[in-house]
């Protein structure tokens, strides 16, 4: 080993003191495990953003968006997206596909998929193993928000479909047509814009791909 030089430990993971951090108190999480993960990040003073960006990942031959993917967390200081999947293993396949597709379309993007076993190990490490069952799987689901008419947000419906593994055609949908022109990477957008994008994706997803 060479003699040590003055070390520059700047892995992109050292947060600046002034870095604004997310706050789990004013964020509505879709799942209890996400809230717990945010608390862990808060504890270790790692800046995070919750679902800040939607990535289009599937289009039909006409270029209409069929599917989008919004990773759960973005850790700006680490330039890392994190997707938690504490669902039953049989439902993880879809998340794996989405992440694989995301990596294909956006090769410069770093994303870490946290499986149920990873989350469980994290809770075990922090002495919170007893909470795992309540934070994982269906027990950890947060009731989707409803508007005053009682209808569920399309985003939540889409998520619910994801969770139930009942997204029409998903089981049969293989990799997209390679001739379909991918849209450029999305810009960061507001939550409202993101919801609109997801609504469009949800509406488009109702039409089977041709």
């Amino acid at each position: 080993m060479d003699p040590p030089e003055q070390t520059e430990h700047l892995p992109g993971g050292v947060a600046d003191e002034e870095t604004p951090r997310g706050s789990h108190s004013d964020t509505v999480f879709a799942h209890a495990s996400e809230a717990e993960f945010a608390r862990i990040l808060d504890f270790y003073q790692v800046a995070w953003e919750y679902e800040p960006q939607v990535f289009p990942i599937l289009w039909d031959l006409e270029g209409n968006l069929l599917e989008s993917f919004a990773p759960d967390f973005y850790l700006p200081d680490l330039e890392l997206f994190v997707e938690l999947t504490t669902l039953q293993q049989r439902l993880v396949r879809k998340k794996n596909r989405k992440v694989r597709r995301l990596r294909e379309l956006y090769p410069g993007l770093r994303i870490k998929l946290f499986y149920a076993r990873d989350f469980r190990a994290l809770m075990l490490k922090y002495g919170r193993a007893a909470l795992v069952s309540g934070l994982s799987g269906t027990l950890g689901q947060v009731t989707p928000h409803q508007d005053e008419n009682g209808s569920t947000e399309p985003e939540d419906r889409l998520d619910a479909l994801d969770r139930a593994g009942a997204d029409a055609g998903d089981a049969d949908r293989s990799e997209p047509d390679s001739n379909a022109e991918p849209h450029p990477p999305s810009e960061r957008r507001s939550r409202g814009a993101r919801r609109r994008a997801v609504r469009r994706a949800a509406a488009a997803a109702q039409t089977p791909a041709t």
Binding site: M1, T7, V14, I40, Y44, D118, A121, L124, Y126
Partner: protein
């Protein structure tokens, strides 16, 4: 939590024997001695898990050195952590400005604690900061931090022994082993 009187019986598999650990620590000591020759080295051990590793490693380094100990609070959730932020439970006992600091860790898992520590220690103006960890478990790494000296890369399993605990138990095992799920699921 159920702990057997015979701690070894709670271990499903011995991952690293006492002999393997001893040989690796000696190897790390030789490397560190060569790399830091002529420099002012301070070993900073992160309590409590790295205590056995620190005790063995420092005796395998053939240089004049200082040692210091730090302890930081670990995440325990909102119910037990009033501030919700990591805290320094025990700070360094001597300044490290201008010195070469080697953080001695038992295991690097997510990297969250180490990330915090490096940031904290940088604020004390050392000449350099490097990291020596006996174990590296990269499966769940969130913060990619260069590890300058690593003893063993281990698989994704809950390990105890040689300083590593579950519920403050098993630290005194002389080897590193995988804990039986029954031990933490009960």
């Amino acid at each position: 939590m159920r702990v057997s009187q015979d701690l070894v019986s709670d271990v499903a598999e011995v991952l690293l024997t006492e002999e393997q650990i001893e040989a690796k620590v000696a190897e790390l000591g030789r490397q560190i001695s060569a790399d830091y020759d002529g420099r002012e080295l301070t070993l900073v051990s992160v309590l409590k898990g790295s205590l056995p590793f620190m005790a063995d490693l420092m005796r395998r380094i053939s240089l004049p050195l200082r040692i210091d100990l730090m302890e930081v609070s670990s995440y325990g959730g909102t119910s037990t952590e009033s501030s919700g932020l990591v805290r320094i439970l025990k700070d360094l006992s001597a300044p490290i400005d201008g010195r070469d600091v080697l953080i001695v860790e038992d295991i690097i898992d997510t990297g969250l604690t180490l990330n915090y520590l490096i940031r904290y220690l940088k604020g004390k103006n050392p000449h350099s900061i490097k990291v020596c960890s006996l174990l590296n478990k990269p499966a769940r790494r969130l913060v990619e931090i260069p590890l300058d000296y690593v003893g063993f890369e281990i698989p994704d399993a809950f390990v105890v022994g040689y300083g590593l605990d579950f519920g403050e138990v098993y630290r005194n095992l002389r080897f590193v082993g995988v804990l039986r799920p029954e031990a933490y699921e009960s």
